[in-house]
């Protein structure tokens, strides 16, 4: 009995988030239409949602692991700014080629993550304190490295990281053939994974979600992907950012759900002491989560720097809050031990769509902040209400 309820509750949670995303997109489409402006869901806007929010999704992937492990990282905005500045320094001042700059910057990010993770994992210093310190230290380090100036502009190859598009290997050109092929494959994979999970549920004797619900959701997702794919193809094709994002999302979803170490991170956050007594080296896993976060922050830092075409002392301000908000909107628990990659991605997209929609509507930054804050609160209240019911 309770089993049925809890599984239905779980379905409700994920479907609810997806539904919220669809509703928000629909709402902005309507509002933009009523204002008599060009269509909301047109190709440049769709492309821009990914270009402008790619860094939030990337940071949120790492933040999910940290929050699942029962910690928090407030330093990611500053670390992204610092690593962006490092990349700029290496590229512009030292004139290093991009294939040297990218790995070096990622290593710097990893080292920063290790420096913070060391205190959290092995000294048990609360992550809030360590990363609050990191937030200040690396903001200062950014100013120091940049000397208070902007560094830029960048060579084309570096800019392509954030603003490039994949080449059309099919040679069709318009619409972008390769984009269409990738979209079709992606849709097929999504349907196949859904069906496989369903058949496995049946095999394990889990009450499957109602057939109508499953197909309803799958069709909405497939239609949305087809629409986005077509729009992108008719514009300039798949942005490089989206390719990087897709690879990372698949990688992290697989890691968290299907690997031994991924499962162990959930165990550490779910019950730290029980995980220790089950032979899990919790300290190493927490350390790993922070190193991973540092690397992802460096990647996000480079993407933002490349998009702005300059490294600035103010870059990355508030990124940590966007990432944390995406994770909680996506359904992770503050206490640790729960949360899914797909939820985080939807959470980040909700934030991104709202940012763009409100900007197009000409809503002032003052109201934007208030609305975003209330959405975060509402998502978490919805969660708590569901659990108590």
């Amino acid at each position: 009995m309770a089993d049925k309820q809890s599984s239905l509750g779980g379905h409700l949670r994920e479907n609810g988030m997806l539904l919220a995303l669809v509703a928000i997109v629909a709402l902005f489409s309507l509002l933009v239409f009523l204002q008599g402006k060009p269509m909301f869901l047109q190709a440049p806007n769709i492309t821009n949602i990914f270009l402008q929010n790619g860094h939030v999704i990337i940071l949120a992937l790492g933040m999910l692991l940290i929050i699942v492990a029962g910690h928090i990282d407030l330093s990611v905005g500053s670390v992204a700014a610092f690593t962006g500045a490092v990349a700029a320094y290496l590229t512009v001042d030292l004139d290093l080629p991009i294939y040297a700059v990218i790995p070096l910057t990622l290593i710097v990010g990893g080292l920063i993550g290790a420096a913070q993770g060391y205190w959290v994992a092995y000294w048990r210093i609360p992550s809030f304190i360590v990363t609050l310190a990191g937030m200040l230290v690396f903001r200062g380090a950014t100013l120091w490295l940049l000397g208070g100036q902007n560094i830029g502009p960048f060579p084309k190859a570096f800019q392509a990281m954030s603003s490039g598009f994949i080449p059309d290997l099919t040679g069709i050109g318009k619409p972008h053939g390769l984009t269409l092929i990738v979209t079709a494959i992606a849709i097929a994979v999504v349907i196949w994974i859904g069906l496989r999970a369903r058949s496995r549920d049946a095999e394990f004797g889990i009450t499957p979600e109602p057939t109508g619900l499953f197909w309803g959701r799958t069709i909405i997702i497939a239609a949305a992907m087809a629409f986005v794919g077509w729009q992108l193809a008719s514009f300039r094709g798949l942005p490089n950012v989206l390719v990087v994002l897709a690879v990372l999302i698949i990688l992290y979803a697989f890691f968290t759900e299907n690997t031994v170490q991924g499962r162990r991170i959930y165990a550490v956050g779910g019950n730290y002491k029980a995980s220790l007594l089950s032979g899990i080296r919790a300290d190493r896993l927490v350390f790993f989560c922070f190193v991973n976060m540092g690397v992802l922050a460096a990647l996000a830092g480079m993407m933002v720097t490349a998009r702005l075409n300059s490294a600035t002392p103010k870059a990355g301000t508030g990124f940590e809050l966007d990432a944390i908000a995406a994770v909680f909107i996506g359904g992770a628990s503050m206490a640790g031990g729960s949360g899914k990659i797909i939820g985080v991605v939807i959470g980040a997209l909700i934030m991104g769509v709202m940012n763009m929609g409100m900007s197009i509507l000409g809503i002032g930054i003052d109201y934007q902040q208030m609305i975003k804050g209330l959405v975060l609160l509402a998502a978490v209240i919805f969660d708590v209400y569901n659990k108590n019911k």
Binding site: D3, F204, N258, V260, R263, A274, S278, G279, I280, R281
Partner: protein, 513 residues
């Protein structure tokens, strides 16, 4: 004697489950009334109806209290009428003093300003009444569970209690503390406080209770008076069947020595220079069930945890051997690899991830057992869990059920499954039947018997002496970090065990922890 409380035809329905089905309960003024029943029988639900946790209108049936119909809207209502419940999990705030805790929510104050001198004085009076010799300013978290229980009772007294409900008050207490608590109950009875006690421990019920109501599957089965109380009768009513023997029949067939500890010592993790385990030597043979007896706080759990991957203490010294060969148990992983498992006494805090489903809990200590190249095979995980569900009769709709929704006995079976999946040769079971009802206890004992028959060694730590005597082939007695005696099954008796403890250096250890 007049009737203080009468609950008639109480029916409480949760979505899909009838938790209480026309339960009746009559409590006379001035008596101690025991309520017995298996976990999940509906005892706690009935008490929640009485104390207003479930307000009037959310259940059917009527309650007559002190001659008046009782229609509580909240706990505050029932407390105002002198009905006070002390829950199993104590509701004290560890960082505050006794006085602050006692008057929490009921402060000795005028216009919102607390009068501390008066509060301290009242606290002192109340503590004297419950026989607790601690200053009112003592911080609650630093006191033992036994003393905290007394503070809860003092708190109830401060609210002019007329009907005191104690939900498994001695579950976490060692014997001396439990004895003291039962004495206090009898003393309160002589002062005219009517009491309801929910308990699994049949010996203490027969000691204090005037009458017993047995609840089974949400209905009241019988109410027995003092003269009719016998353990066998109560057990029969509780489980609805005769348990001729409370422990499964087994013919011990110990083999060669499996597990040996020689001269094992370790220090307290924080207090420098305090030795907690002092040169312990013991062994367990294949197919043998060996017990460790002792009072709480004498280092039994610390011994087990220090052996299991140095999970307790520091400065470990000594040798551990499996099959006569020294093994490295310096980390939990190495201990598991050596074939040792430790089933904790505190399954909720140390054994389970409550919010995760059964199958994820079972695979946790041996994830590589369901993985290939570090990638989880979820089909295999479900099959493994399903196998243990059948083998150990875990009662659940499915292995996807979160363990938080299971009863204590079924949770314990999940923890056991988790460790069985590591295929241990030696299982250290720490209080394996704590907080588990009689029927499920028998099942756990049967599992232990099966493990021994498979040739595994079982080392069982327990504070319940009858259980040690009923199950073990040999019993070590521990006191203050040392083994003070070893008794064979034939020699062992409660008296001999207690004698070994008490005679140890002539120290009396029966004081409140």
């Amino acid at each position: 004697m007049s009737t203080l409380l009468e609950m008639r035809g109480i029916t409480k329905v949760f979505p899909g489950v009838k938790a209480l089905d026309r339960v009746s309960l009559t409590v006379e003024a001035g008596e101690i009334h025991a309520i017995c029943g298996e976990n999940g029988a509906g005892k706690s639900t009935l008490m929640k109806v009485l104390s207003g946790v479930y307000p009037h209108g959310s259940y059917d049936g009527e309650i007559i209290y002190d001659g008046q119909p009782l229609q509580n809207r909240s706990i505050r209502d029932s407390e105002a009428k002198g009905i006070i419940i002390i829950h199993q999990e104590l509701a004290l705030i560890p960082l505050l003093s006794i006085a602050e805790n006692l008057f929490m929510g009921n402060e000795v104050a005028t216009n919102g300003v607390i009068s501390w001198p008066l509060a301290m004085q009242k606290t002192g009076d109340l503590l004297r009444r419950v026989g607790l010799n601690e200053p009112p300013s003592a911080v609650v978290g630093k006191l033992g569970v036994g003393k905290q229980q007394l503070i809860e009772i003092a708190k109830a007294l401060s609210k002019n209690v007329r009907l005191l409900i104690l939900d498994e008050p001695t579950a976490a207490l060692q014997e001396a503390d439990a004895d003291r608590l039962l004495d206090l109950m009898l003393e309160l009875k002589s002062q005219g406080v009517t009491q309801i006690i929910i308990s699994h421990k049949l010996n203490e019920i027969s000691r204090v209770a005037d009458r017993i109501t047995v609840i089974r599957d949400g209905t009241s089965v019988s109410t027995l008076s003092k003269s009719e109380i016998s353990e066998d009768r109560i057990i029969r009513d509780m489980v609805g069947r005769d348990i001729a023997h409370r422990y499964p029949e087994r013919t011990p067939n110990p083999g060669e020595v499996l597990f040996e500890v020689e001269n094992w010592s370790c220090m307290h993790p924080e207090q420098a220079g305090r030795q907690m385990i002092k040169g312990v030597s013991l062994n367990v043979r294949k197919g043998e069930i060996v017990g460790i007896a002792g009072l709480m706080g004498t280092g039994r759990t610390e011994l087990a945890m220090s052996l299991f991957g140095r999970s307790y203490g520091k400065g470990h010294q000594g040798t551990v051997r499996m099959h006569g060969k020294p093994v490295d148990v310096s980390t939990v992983t190495k201990a598991i690899q050596a074939g040792i498992s430790y089933v904790t006494e505190d399954r909720k805090a140390l054994g389970l991830i409550l919010e995760e489903p059964i199958l994820k809990n079972i695979s946790l200590a041996n994830l590589f057992g369901i993985a290939k190249n570090s990638i989880l095979d979820k089909r295999r995980e479900a099959q493994v869990a399903e196998g243990y569900r059948k083998q150990l009769a875990i009662r659940t709709p499915g292995v996807q059920q979160k363990v938080v929704n299971l009863s204590g006995g079924n949770q314990q079976k999940v923890v056991l499954s988790k460790w069985l999946f590591t295929d241990p040769e030696l299982l250290i079971l720490d209080e394996p039947t704590r907080g588990i009802d009689v029927g499920a206890k028998f099942e756990i004992y049967t599992i232990m018997k099966d493990l021994a028959e498979q040739g595994r060694g079982v080392l069982m730590i327990s504070s319940e002496m009858p259980e040690l005597l009923g199950m073990c082939d040999r019993i070590y007695v521990m006191n203050e970090g040392r083994i003070v005696g070893e008794l064979s099954r034939a020699e062992a008796s409660q008296e001999r065990i207690m004698a070994l403890i008490v005679k140890d250096n002539g120290k009396t250890t029966g004081k409140v922890a």
